[in-house]
């Protein structure tokens, strides 16, 4: 029947700049979300980075539960039960508006052979239009929290996490939902970003490849967070396939039409993919460019933990553009520049996300990588 795909023996990391394919650029409705109004211009211009540090890796042909190889095509179970979460953070308005719309009228999210459930994950936070009431729901799905027994002494979001785990999980079990889409907004100029939690999830990789091609020339980048220290227990991790969707820039508590529209279009393509997959379409092998989370960078702080500098104007709004050693990174309140002192070019993102000040994060750095996904087909 043929051998599984051979694997590249090690990760190659090239720090010197070499030309590679550019991050997706170009116009189109989805791309326009990155237009940031500036004080001195009608609309900000986003220029894609020219130089790149990249590495190539092919995942070893390991199997996930429910996955088997026939020749080089992975056979996966159908995705029958899908959920769309909005309001995991109560002040990230696009997801709240979309989910409320679909709860009222689900026409746009009907697909043959799939049960799609729109769901408001944190209704108390949504009602108060805050990120969370007691603790961040999107950090609450730890094994300890999910297995804890007790009642009112736990924060609201921990109890809610347990309830969500009962409704859509249990996490890690065969009864869990097949896919959860988790809708988020960011104050960062990230455009449309899909968030991947595992480089070995071929179903997700194929879906993301499908979405990227469907919206081209508009761009949708993929952020991979598999970092052992920086990854966290998300709401969506309850499902077998967790897909985060982050669209910005949008202030907390604000609903922008263009951002709302971009998110709606991406979900439409995601659901189309699932429908096609369930109907038996085979998706050939593909490669997916991802940005792998590398390091979290905090603001400079004084002895009392107060922030003493801001993201530098040269870095502000430049999500996904290369940040080279020596480039301006922060600017103190009295105008001094603090440069980036890493050893290698990186790709920053989540730049100046307002919700992350309390999480000690000014931005994360990422490295570019190309992941290979095997061909997939329903079992």
């Amino acid at each position: 029947m043929g051998e599984p795909r051979s694997q590249v023996s090690s990760l190659l990391s090239v720090c010197d700049s070499t030309t590679t394919s550019q991050p997706d650029g170009g116009g189109g409705d989805v791309k326009d979300v990155k237009t940031q109004p500036h004080l001195n211009s009608e609309a900000g211009n986003f220029s894609t980075g020219a130089s790149a540090a990249f590495s190539v890796s092919t995942p070893p042909p390991s199997t996930l539960p429910g996955m088997s190889f026939h020749g080089s095509t992975a056979r996966l179970s159908e995705a029958r039960r899908v959920a769309i979460f909005g309001g995991t953070h109560g002040n990230e308005m696009s997801g709240v508006a979309l989910v409320n719309l679909w709860i009222k009228n689900s026409d746009d999210i009907q697909r043959r052979g799939v049960d799609i459930k729109p769901f408001i994950a944190n209704p108390k936070a949504v009602e108060k239009c805050v990120r969370y009431v007691e603790t961040d729901l999107n950090r609450a799905f730890t094994p300890e929290n999910l297995s804890a027994s007790g009642g009112d002494e736990f924060p609201y979001e921990v109890r809610r996490a347990q309830e969500i785990n009962r409704m859509f999980g249990p996490k890690g079990s065969p009864e869990a939902y097949d896919v959860i889409f988790d809708l988020h907004n960011t104050t960062s100029n990230m455009g449309c970003t899909l968030i991947l939690e595992s480089s070995k999830d071929h179903f997700n990789l194929q879906m993301m490849n499908y979405i990227k091609k469907a919206i081209s020339p508009a761009s949708c980048l993929v952020l991979l967070n598999e970092h052992p220290l920086l990854k966290y227990s998300t709401c969506r991790s309850v499902a077998k396939h967790a897909v985060g969707l982050e669209v910005g820039p949008q202030p907390q508590g604000v609903l922008r039409s263009n951002i709302f529209e971009a998110m709606r279009v991406i979900l439409k393509h995601a659901l189309d993919f699932i429908e096609l997959f369930n109907e038996g379409m085979e998706f050939p092998p593909c490669t997916v460019e991802v940005f792998r989370v590398n390091e979290r960078i905090d603001y400079p702080r004084d002895a009392n933990r107060n922030i003493i500098a801001m993201v530098h104007p040269n870095l502000q709004d430049c999500d996904w553009e290369p940040l080279n050693p020596g480039d301006p990174m922060f600017q103190t309140f009295d105008g001094k520049t603090i440069p980036y002192q890493g050893s290698c070019t990186v790709y920053p993102t989540f730049i100046n996300e307002a919700a992350y000040y309390e999480k000690q994060q000014a931005f994360v750095t990422t490295r570019r990588e190309t992941l290979a996904a095997s061909s997939i087909r329903k079992a």
């Binding site: 109004p37 500036h38 004080l39 001195n40 609309a43 508006a97 979309l98 409320n100 719309l101 009228n105 239009c129 805050v130 104050t187 820039p249 202030p251 907390q252 508590g253 604000v254 609903l255 922008r256 039409s257 263009n258 709302f260 529209e261 107060n306 922030i307 003493i308 801001m310 993201v311 530098h312 104007p313 502000q316 600017q331 309140f333 009295d334 100046n352 996300e353 307002a354 919700a355 000040y357 309390e358």
Partner: protein, 338 residues
């Protein structure tokens, strides 16, 4: 009024710069907390040369809201400065912000009284794409209008507008109404809970130029008259809402988003419903749109505000000399005696 003679106004010997009136509007919080404290310390250390210096107070208006990075904890502080709220009886457990407003009134006021600070500059940021705005109750407070003109000249690259609230002084409700003169300095676009270096730089420059102007004014400079375009608020428009849940059913139309101070004409696109329909402006008069999609106004039922623009003539002004001030005081005293 002789048009050639500058209007003489009392010197501004006490001014207050306030930040964090809304706890999640961070540029003002950082400016007041860090930078202005340093400036104040530096100027306090200067030699006493016998001249009267302006005293500047820096105030973190709502420390509890700042600590929680929220607009307010119980109620919007910047609506608590009506005379009724400041002087009225307090209930058994008054909202935190009502008590704080009364404290600030003691510190900077009392509002309407002779001991109030001469000028209050209250720092705000907005998610709307408004550039730098002065917001004032009066369209004939020459001090505020001249400060605005001065900033326009010194910061020509920054889009700058003067917004007049068009309500009487008796109905004033915000912190800046506590001083004898006052205005809010509002800068956007800035997401709440964060600080952008470009927004901070503009706010910092704006405050610096304002302080420079106050110094020049107090030392007797004459400021020529001229013209200022003033936007007077006429009305607010709310989002379309679901009659049962009261949730909004549309967002600001993408053609209008970020176009603060554009002229909105009858039938121009206004909202885009979640099902893709365009709703249009049905007013009879073209008006200027502002505060477009300011997030904290959702709960106040405001999607955007509408204003008329007019060109206002402002006279030349200068500060009263010491002699003129003393003459005024003598006149006041003798009036009281009569």
């Amino acid at each position: 009024m002789d048009v050639d003679e500058p209007v003489c106004l009392p010197r501004l010997s006490r001014i207050a710069v306030c930040g964090g009136t809304h706890g999640n509007e961070l540029p003002g919080v950082y400016l007041v907390r860090d930078v202005l404290k340093l400036q104040r310390r530096a100027s306090e250390g200067e030699e006493d040369d016998g001249e009267e210096h302006t005293s500047m107070l820096t105030v973190l208006s709502n420390p509890r809201a700042v600590q929680q990075c929220r607009r307010y904890t119980d109620t919007d502080l910047n609506r608590c400065f009506t005379l009724a709220t400041l002087n009225g009886p307090t209930s058994d457990s008054p909202p935190y912000e009502v008590l704080r407003a009364q404290e600030l009134n003691t510190m900077l006021g009392p509002k309407g009284g002779p001991g109030a600070v001469d000028l209050v500059c209250d720092l705000h940021s907005t998610t709307a794409n408004m550039g730098l705005c002065f917001i004032a109750y009066s369209d004939c407070d020459w001090i505020c209008l001249h400060i605005f003109k001065h900033l326009q000249r010194r910061m020509p690259d920054t889009p700058m507008r003067f917004i007049h609230l068009g309500i009487s002084g008796k109905e004033s409700y915000s912190l800046d109404s506590v001083g004898k003169h006052g205005f809010a300095m509002e800068i956007g676009p800035q997401p709440h809970g964060g600080v952008r270096s470009d927004i901070y730089a503009v706010m910092s420059a704006g405050v610096r130029h304002m302080l420079d102007w106050v110094g020049l004014f107090n030392s007797g400079a004459v400021f020529e008259g001229g013209w200022v375009d003033v936007f007077t608020l006429v009305k607010n428009i709310d989002y379309p809402r679901d009659s049962k849940t009261h949730n909004i059913t549309a967002a600001i139309h993408s053609h209008l988003q970020d176009r603060d101070f554009c002229l909105l004409r009858p039938h121009d696109p206004l909202f885009q419903t979640f099902t893709g329909e365009t709703l249009r402006y049905e007013g009879g008069e073209p008006l200027y749109a502002l505060f477009i999609n300011e997030c904290s106004y959702y709960e106040k039922g405001i999607a955007l505000s509408l204003a008329r623009k007019r060109r206002l003539a402002i006279p030349a002004i200068r500060a009263q000399t010491e002699e003129e001030e003393q003459a005024d005081e003598r006149a006041l005293t003798s009036e009281e005696e009569e």
